[in-house]
């Protein structure tokens, strides 16, 4: 008898069930655990108090990223430059102490491999297709771009995974978001996921794992797929998934922690089976025509507040839901925008190119392509590029991208989360606007009073040149 057709999610889930309880809750084995300095100190402390060891330190990798300043970390003589914020310094020191105490490998701030955990995991081959991957960070969804079941967890769950290498979970519902067709010129993976966010809204994916399918998704590079899956959480889905294919295998092969030899062959055989079977049913299907997607930008304070760059700021009355009308008015007040205003007339003072969503080499190439031979507008006070890892930074420098950014008036920084979340010194000042390649436009996200417009790296670069939110296609035509 043929087995029941299964979705990609179900195949990965089934392969990781340690025990299934009568009520449907499963004990799920976790293959890879990424740890950073912000959400782990309380977990390590609890283990210490209970006298519990880390069950599988070899499946755990610690990388500091959130708190690290992105300015130089070593002086001319190679000595560490102290971190001025005592709380940040304390938290980073805690990770540096906890990792060796519990036998966990640490990629430290001085290592060339250091970067944002969600850039480092795939880059090192630590994140693999078909693996279950967790991290105390909601953008762990990112690794789903490789076909891994990856999701963010809280600190109690970090502790649970450290102690047991498992989590108690209920199976999620499954949603297919199918994007068919060819993307137009200037339309990138970021525009695809911003557009999807506008369709699904901020809670449309709650309770689901989203599998992104369709020709437009298959045609994306692996880095583009990581960008799309990264923002699954912005539609409420804890995880995104994109079936691994030959591009995925080519991406993974040869990376430091990737399997080798006979293990590689065995892995490839399994990874090739990781597609949703014909006839398998999703709980929900959403179909999007790639031709409908244009360079996109957010106007409000939720990632669902998406409009085409060619569009205008909506009025609260445009929304049917009364609570959304109220929220839209609050967003407009916070963002200092008027209904009907053209997005391309909105002046910006800051440009941030970075974050786990858009700080990989292809992102930097896309931005540099727009900026080559151009400079930022005088009203753009602060423009910054923060590579996702030391290896991305080195690659970009080998390609001369750093020169293009510096010549365009951008700062070129050390890797880290930077201005994505207002936790380290990189912040957007109150009342100022930022064209940002990050993932969240929440109130105060980039610093108290900051006004964030989420965009792609190409749009961010074009906006820096124009001094306003800009349509990269118009700039390219000049």
């Amino acid at each position: 008898m043929a087995s029941k057709p299964r979705t990609l999610y179900e195949k990965i889930w089934d392969a990781h069930v340690v025990e299934r309880r009568d009520d449907g809750t499963c004990l799920i084995y976790i293959d890879r655990h990424l740890v950073h300095e912000v959400t782990s100190p309380q977990a390590f402390e609890a283990l210490r108090l209970a006298g519990r060891p880390v069950r599988r330190p070899d499946l755990t990798l610690a990388v500091p990223d959130h708190n690290l300043p992105t300015t130089a970390r070593r002086d001319a003589s190679g000595q560490p430059i102290p971190i001025t914020d005592p709380e940040s310094a304390q938290q980073l020191a805690a990770l540096e102490r906890n990792a060796p105490e519990f036998g966990i490998r640490l990629i430290g701030d001085a290592d060339i491999e250091q970067g944002i955990v969600h850039v480092v995991g795939p880059e090192q081959g630590f994140s693999l297709p078909g693996a279950t991957i967790v991290c105390g960070d909601s953008h762990t969804a990112c690794h789903g771009g490789l076909g891994a079941l990856a999701f963010g967890i809280g600190t109690s769950e970090v502790e649970h995974v450290l102690a047991t290498q498992t989590l108690l979970l209920k199976p999620a519902k499954t949603m297919e978001v199918r994007v068919e067709g060819e993307l137009g010129p200037g339309v990138t993976a970021k525009d695809v996921v911003l557009h999807i966010g506008g369709v699904l809204r901020a809670s449309g994916g709650t309770g689901y794992v989203i599998e992104y399918t369709g020709s437009a998704i298959r045609n994306l590079s692996i880095e583009g797929r990581l960008t799309v899956s990264n923002m699954a959480i912005e539609h409420g889905a804890r995880a995104g998934l994109i079936a691994p294919d030959d591009k995925t295998l080519a991406y993974v092969q040869g990376r430091p922690y990737a399997p080798k030899g006979a293990e590689w062959d065995g892995a490839v055989a399994w990874w090739k089976s990781l597609t949703t079977d014909p006839g398998a049913a999703y709980d929900k299907v959403v179909v999007i025509d790639a031709a409908d997607i244009v360079p996109s930008v957010t106007w409000g304070t939720s990632p669902e507040d998406v409009v085409p760059i060619t569009g205008t700021v909506p009025a609260p009355a445009d929304f049917a839901d009364p609570s959304k009308q109220d929220a839209a008015q609050k967003s407009l007040d916070y963002m200092g925008l008027e209904p009907g205003q053209k997005l391309t007339e909105v002046e910006i003072q800051n440009v941030f190119i970075g974050s786990c969503t858009n700080s990989r080499i292809e992102d930097l190439r896309a931005a540099a392509k727009v900026l080559k031979g151009r400079t930022k507008a005088p009203n753009v006070r602060w423009a910054v590029v923060v590579p996702g890892s030391g290896l991305v930074k080195r690659q970009a420098e080998q390609e001369g991208l750093d020169r293009i950014f510096l010549d365009a008036g951008f700062e070129w920084r050390e890797p880290g989360c930077s201005a994505c979340l207002g936790m380290n010194p990189d912040k957007v000042p109150p009342g100022e606007r930022c064209a940002s390649t990050s993932n969240r436009n929440f109130v105060g996200r980039q610093g108290p009073g900051s006004r964030t417009h989420l965009v792609s790296p190409a749009t961010a670069a074009a906006s820096a040149v124009a001094g306003k939110l800009a349509d990269v296609r118009a700039l390219a035509a000049n």
Binding site: A15, V18, R21, V38, D58, L59, E87, R105, H160, G444
Partner: protein, 204 residues
């Protein structure tokens, strides 16, 4: 986790939808290595308004928060749950919650009660003047005015909450099953089971 069976008292009629965890606790408050004192940063932006609900004489210290759709969306920071606890909030009633937040709340003994918008609207009205009671055993929310709203909750979570069970302790008791899984996975998917070798290579 301490056992919890009932939460009763004034409920803050907050009502907002898509309340993200950056709003509940901004990132600058996450630089701590303990779980304590998060209340200082809780809802910081909203509480910079002197007329805010959270610090009003009427609602300060209330054990229940009533919110709109998608409460706790965004960042996975458990600090959001710790911040609510530090304000004295031990239950949140909303039409929906983000998956990660509801998990974090549960791990800290905070009840997340899902009710339809119509029930939320009624509770928002009652909360202006009167208390609300959440009974976990019977899975109902009641008011002094004969309102009675039943709610669903995961059976396992309910059991843990009512008995104050330590989930990590429960799972550690399944150590044998975990080892059995590890052994079979090592045979079936050896590339997932062994990063030690590669990590050694890397370090060398």
């Amino acid at each position: 986790m301490e056992a919890v069976s009932e939460v009763s008292g004034r409920a803050i009629p907050f009502g907002r939808k898509n309340v993200d965890t950056d709003v509940i606790i901004p990132a600058k408050w996450l630089k701590t290595i303990t779980r304590e004192g998060m209340g200082r940063g809780a809802f910081e932006t909203l509480r910079s308004d002197p007329d805010n609900l959270f610090d009003s004489p009427e609602f300060k210290g209330s054990p229940i928060l009533i919110a709109g759709d998608n409460f706790g969306c965004g960042s996975s920071r458990e600090h959001a749950a710790w911040a609510l606890l530090d304000l004295g909030i031990t239950a949140v009633i909303a039409p929906s919650f983000s998956d990660i937040f509801s998990g974090n709340a549960f791990k800290n003994g905070i009840l997340t009660v899902v009710l339809p918008q119509a029930a939320i609207d009624r509770l928002m009205e009652v909360a202006q003047t009167d208390p609300v009671t959440i009974d976990l055993e019977s899975q109902t929310v009641t008011t002094p005015f004969q309102d009675r709203f039943p709610f669903e909750i995961d059976a396992f979570r309910k059991h843990c909450l009512l008995n104050g069970l330590d989930e990590i302790g429960l799972t550690m008791a399944r150590d044998g099953a975990i080892s059995t899984y590890e052994n079979s996975a090592r045979a079936a998917m050896p590339w997932l089971a062994a990063t030690e070798q590669q990590m050694g290579d890397k370090a060398a």
